[in-house]
Symmetry: D2
Subunit: 153 residues, 4 copies
């Protein structure tokens, strides 16, 4: 199994268009045989997981809760951290590349951690932070993310 | 996919016989389609992961390190926590049942957390702590562990 | 200020005699100008903090909660981790020596972490784990703990 | 003892002028009898701690390391988390108000967490994130921070 992991981050409440983007991103990640990691909850996290499962991928949810039952239904591997939003750093550390879709302050904390650790961050309609690489759509985002995986191996 | 997760804990340095037990435990967990979670490193962690992969199972390694590259070669899902032995609580929280094989103080911390959280702990030649359910071999341990999964669902 | 820190661990529900012991331990730690760290809640944690404050000491509470307001009234420095019992490792890492008084599984996890990290653990009516140094009363426990501080500096 | 805690965050490498600002902020926090919490290392963290100690204050350092010895010399209460930059959330959770001075991605992660938790963030030459309240100097920053403490109690 390919152990490359792409982390997808984004808010719980985003506009419908971004949920569609997230679902496509998830599907494309799975089609390339890459593991998906996310926060395991609703919104972008659920949409990207649903997309990945449509393409037969494997989805990892790093949950804030101390039990597994709050994971969305598309999560294969629910990890119960019990650290609340302190779990954000684990998503980032476990990812080779991050794709950020929309998102609010929680997403911003993950973008910041990723950039601090020198990990590529691809962004779709997300925080405009120096270092974030803009993508225009799901296809562009996944291609850019995969480019970093290839160049690293 | 069955989201039941069995956590297997144990030391890095244990006698050969216990590594064989761990490998068998891993194989039996995988044969039943149950996810395996462990600390992702060497010794019992590696043996149980190897056994699970022999039977086509899925292995999750909750690593102390802040990068994924220290996971043993049988880990499918490496989670880089960066929390050192502080990651032990995540193994326990994510498991439905724990099987402890041998082990030293690290294993003892996990047994303690599991019992504090009211999770069943099956032990093979491990710490004799009030609450740990003894098993005589791999077969006995996995059967007892699975019994708890069934009764809970 | 002396930056030596003694960690005192123990359960929320212990018999009255042990609360008296804990209070005396806290007072003696403070009288020697040593910082006290504990879990910040009730039972042994509250008794030891009360004792330390009676002698004008400084008390640190490493809380499981994500806000500070659950600290007992004798805590000067409430640290809100939000990690639940995952905060136990922080108590241990921040302590030079551990004194365990009574205690259940949570205390056991801390004893295990301390021994794994090679830190001295002095115990009063607590878990009988190989490596724990027994003390017969508060005086004995604090003297033994302080002996380790001196020999290390 | 007043248990209000002000968190001061900022980078390790900032220009000299901001170190002077940080030192003044530390002194002013201490003069008002408020506890100071920070990351415990160099740069802004050291300058603010030095300032606080000049005024006889109490300084708390939430360290990324798993031992206490890396704390700067002005830290009274060194907390060894062993969580690396995962410790940032603890600084934020333990603070009533945050003052950000300069700073890079690590500081940005803390600003994001604070805003996500609804805590006031006062900024001096730091990230321009929606929600951060600008201050023009140390005096302005501490006054604004203290204003939030008063209104909350």
């Amino acid at each position: 199994m390919n152990k490359h992991i792409i982390g997808v981050i984004g808010g719980r409440e985003v506009k419908k268009e971004l949920l569609t983007v997230a679902e496509t991103v998830g599907r494309m990640i799975a089609e390339r045989g890459i593991l998906l990691i996310c926060g395991g909850l609703s919104g972008v996290m659920e949409a990207v997981s649903r997309g990945a499962k449509q393409a037969g991928g494997t989805t990892i949810g790093i949950l804030p809760h101390d039990t597994k039952d709050k994971a969305n239904r598309y999560i294969d591997i629910p990890i119960a951290t019990g650290f609340g939003i302190g779990r954000n750093i684990i998503i980032v550390r476990s990812s080779d590349v991050i794709i950020a879709i929309g998102g609010e302050y929680g997403t911003l904390s993950e973008i910041a951690f990723a950039l601090q650790l020198g990990k590529p961050v691809i962004g779709i309609e997300t925080w405009e932070i120096n270092g974030v690489i803009k993508a225009i759509d799901a296809d562009d985002a996944v291609n850019k993310a995969v480019g970093f995986l290839t160049s690293a191996s």
